[in-house]
Amino acid sequence: MINQYSQRKYIIGGLILLTGLILILRLFYLQVINSTYKLSAENNSKREVIQYPARGLMYDRNGVLLVSNQAAYDVMLTPGQLSRFDTLSFCKLLGISVNDVATGIKKARDYSRFAPTVFMKQVSGEVASVLQEQLYKFPGFFVQTRTLRKYPKNIAAHLMGYVGEVDKNLIEKNPYYQMGDYIGISGIEKNYEEILRGEKGKKNFLVDVHSRITGSYQDGRFDEPARIGTDINLTIDAGLQEYGELLMKDFTGSIVAIEPTTGEVLCLVTTPSYPPDLLVGRGLSQNFNTLSGDSLKPLFNRALAASYPPGSTFKIINALIGLQEKVISPSTEFGCQMGYSFRGQFLGCHSHRSPLDLREAIQHSCNSYFVNSFRKIMEDPKFEATHDAYNNWRNHLLSFGLGNSMNSDLSGELKGFIPKDDYYNRYYGVGRWNFLTIRSLAIGQGELGVTPLQMANITAAIANKGYFMTPHVVKSIKGSDTINHRFTEKHIIAIDTAHFTVAIDGMDLAVNGGAGSTAGRAKIEGIIVCGKTGTAENPHGEDHSIFIAFAPRENPKIAIAVYIENGGFGGTWAAPLASLMIEEYLTGEVKRKYLEDYIFNAVIK
């Protein structure tokens, strides 16, 4: 049957062709006849200008400014918008050669045709303002303002860390960052990056063919305001830090001071160091190379990342463990004839009267006493075998925060080393080692590895008589009432407070006990300093001088650990240096100029 309506196909087909014709005519008008749209497109180029927020500032615990910002101007290039320009006057303006321009353009092109790249970093404000005026001559180029770090006090380089350009790997991992952006690379700059950096914003501008901004793109609908970086108050005392760096200027080593009740780090000195303003801006990479090539390793943060045997300072810990395990009491006495000998093994001691009780043993730092008590700890009948006693002893050490990262807010913390029983099992065989094998642990030598930060923390725990707060360097973040809760939790050590009092008595005697005291040089008139010397054996040369102390004895305000590499006996250099630091911090000035001079004139092999 012939469909009676089949002629309607012509109407439908005709309608379709007609509308097609309308579209074609309109397109012909838009694309060929009318030229206003072409002009619009030329005058209608979008430029996204990133708004870099100023990085947050850092203050010390008393509000002294440690890190601020300075303006810097980068010349940026968007290769897609490039067209012929007067290369000569451009070179003259920036003080570069035509070759530099060519390589710069090639580099930018290789990165992206549409995304802006840094063409030249950190030109002076003067050049930047002249260039800004003449931008219309150089299409594709524009000036981007950024901020660089500035260090009014030029101290605490390792602590604060530095800011540098992000690398390619990071850009791929974290899309927030783009070529040429800055990021905290070490120290607080790194650990508090997200707080300090703020949030980049962007403004979208319409620019014409001459690269001139003609207005805001869509009334700023897609603009995102930059959020300025948040300021941080550090726990550091700038005065103490500066004084510590001054005292240490000729030594290699570190000083860590902590406020015992809060865990706030008062100073973190490591030497040799470098002035932080070396690692800023254009000189950064060259200076960095120089520093990292330096044989003294000024970039190495010894306070966190150097691990030494704790030496005799460790006797306090062993005393505490012995008391807690009830294998010794404060009145336990051991004799000492210039050393300890057992089954033909000998461990020497210096001359002092004999026998000594526990307090006096700390005062005189008697090796024999602590080897004897260590034997009692290891041969404790509570335990079936030496390795059980060893593991128990090791757990006590771990509770002091040894053998592990302290999880502070400092970057680059070393864990230190407290061997597991497996370590000896592997070395000597299971059941084939006893207290004698590991006797050097009794006096803090041997396989032990403890960082200065950990040592300062132990001192704080002793000062607190049984607890510590995780050390940290950020006191407060602007606009926030709290800091990370891990810094406000007490870490309780499973040793009775009474035992700490005994150990503290010994430390008091070591400083203030008169003749025979190992740390008499740490004594300060009117302040009871409690301390303990240590000497870390160094197979490579002169021993390292160690001193730990806190003061005043009641309600301690400062706990300090001083390490001086190749400094010999702890009482010689480390103890007086710690004493000066304590005086500076507690009284605000140092009256003992003779002691200062003694330190300044030190000669170390």
Binding site: Q4, Y5, S6, R8, K9, I12, G13, I16, L17, T19, G20, I22, L23, I24, R26, L27, F28, L30, Q31, V32, N34, T36, Y37, K38, S40, A41, E42, N44, S45, K46, G80, S112, R113, F114, A115, Q218, D219
Partner: protein
């Protein structure tokens, strides 16, 4: 039935056009969002890489459809329609809201838009219903049923709300017209559309008076009776003076509009009574028509204010030139016209477009993909693409007309109309001839759902066509 038959009977010319279109679409998507750091067109993290996967899936679907028995589609027509309606209901309940419309099912990283698949379903159901043996196409019952089949899914889509997708269902008027519904259906729709625009352009009072004048004139033309017309006019004028006076006494100054309305209501009623008493023929329909038109103008005004969202109102207003706001709601159209216009005669060349890439044009890979064609390939490109579509439509009409079975023909017209309306509205909106309603350009725009829906529609028809000899 042997597979060989399909290969021999398949309309390879249409298949060629289809492949050409999806290939060009893919190239333009690549260019529209070309990303320097992902230069490979097969990078599956980028939309162009994904589109390649959608294309492969579409081809698999096409082959699968060709392997199905052609009677399947007629047999299951209503069933498929029912499934489509159920999914449209489901998406209103469990769908995910994106950009303010609850139009998407989201499963893992995968999104699907059921409204796209409602289009072939309606085409199938409509074809099945209209090809029922002995159907009387002139009956009101038939008319109502056809209306329900077409506009039920449209209504559900309107609820999402997705005005653009709902709008395309009007396309099914064409197959209905082709099957013999009165030509008045097209005329009426055209008139209503014209009135819609006029209502928005002119104020109601003026429009009302124009309608009245046309009404009186029409009566005069129909009845050739000047005396009666004058009487009718005087009656209206009388009612007007009385109601205006009354309103004036109640303190309503210059209430021309209200007075006109009241007078119109009374006079229309009295005309009806008089027409009955004096047995004046033909006037019944005229009065009815005038009444409907008056109501319609109010309905348009009301629904424009109440059913269209602010941005849709603005877009319509801008299109009609009532409002000009190139940086506001008119921004998209303005930028899209700049992009297309800047292409000039020969275009800027592949990957050389700046307007589309620099985010001046929104949705440059989906609804505004035609901008990339215009900017990079110029008038030559746009002309070619339109020619390609027109050839495609004419070829499909030829195919539809050669069907022996009504079902296949009606289905064919159904999909021609749907694809055509997408083509027309999409391109028209990018060049400022239609408000921006957000529907894709068939086979070109980025997106799995629309590509698959169009592929399925087309290949069902090609399958029916290949089986026409059986």
């Amino acid at each position: 039935m042997k597979r060989g038959n399909i290969i021999a009977n398949l309309d390879w010319f249409t298949v060629l056009l289809f492949i050409l279109m999806i290939f060009l679409g893919w190239l333009n998507i690549f260019s529209a969002i070309y990303n320097e750091s992902h230069p490979s067109i097969l990078d599956f993290n980028q939309k162009y890489g994904k589109q390649f996967l959608w294309i492969l899936a579409a081809i698999v679907m096409a082959v699968a459809i060709l392997l199905i028995d052609h009677r399947f589609f007629e047999f299951f027509g209503y069933f498929i329609y029912a499934v489509a309606i159920i999914t449209l209901l489901a998406v209103l309940i469990v769908g995910k809201e994106i950009n303010g419309s609850k139009s998407w099912f989201v499963m893992g990283g995968f999104q699907i838009q059921p409204s796209e698949f409602a289009k072939p379903a309606v085409a199938l159901a409509l074809a099945k219903y209209l090809s029922t043996f002995n159907i009387n196409i002139q009956k009101v019952r038939t008319f109502v049923k056809v209306g329900v089949i077409i506009f039920l899914p449209a209504l559900l889509i309107l609820l999402q709300p997705d005005t653009g997708s709902a709008l395309v269902f009007f396309a099914f008027v064409f197959p209905v017209y082709r099957e013999g519904f009165s030509g008045m259906i097209l005329v009426t729709m055209f008139t209503l559309a014209l009135l819609f625009i006029l209502v928005l352009l002119f104020n109601e009072l003026l429009l009302l008076l124009i309608i009245l004048v046309i009404g009186f004139a029409a009566y005069w033309l129909l009845a050739r009776n000047f005396r009666n017309m004058m009487i009718a006019f005087l009656i209206f004028a009388g009612f007007f003076i009385v109601s205006y006076g009354t309103l004036y006494l109640f303190g309503q100054n210059s209430a021309f509009y209200a007075a006109t309305l009241i007078a119109l209501a009374f006079s229309l009623a009295s005309f009806l009574v008089m027409a009955y008493i004096y047995r004046i023929r033909k006037i019944g329909m005229l009065i009815l028509a005038v009444t409907i038109v008056v109501f319609y103008t109010f309905a348009v005004d009301y629904s424009f204010e109440h059913f269209l969202s602010d941005y849709q109102q603005r877009r319509v207003n801008i299109m009609l030139g009532i409002q000009s706001d190139p940086l506001g709601a008119g921004y998209n159209v303005n930028q899209s016209m700049i992009a297309i216009g800047s292409g000039g005669f020969a275009g800027k060349g592949f990957l050389q477009g700046t307007q589309t890439k620099l985010d001046f044009v929104p949705e440059q890979s989906t609804d505004f993909i035609f901008c990339t064609v215009g900017e990079e390939w110029g008038f030559i490109g746009t002309f070619f693409v339109i020619l390609l579509f027109l050839t495609f439509f004419i070829r499909l009409i030829q195919l539809a007309e050669r069907q022996k079975e009504n079902f296949a023909r009606i289905y064919g017209y159904g999909i021609i109309s749907v694809i055509f309306i997408h083509f027309f509205i999409n391109i028209a909106m990018t060049i400022g001839l239609f408000p921006v309603v957000g529907i894709p350009l068939p086979f070109f725009s980025y997106g799995g759902s629309s590509l698959w829906a169009f592929t399925i529609m087309l290949f069902i028809f090609l399958r029916l066509d290949a089986g026409r000899m059986e």
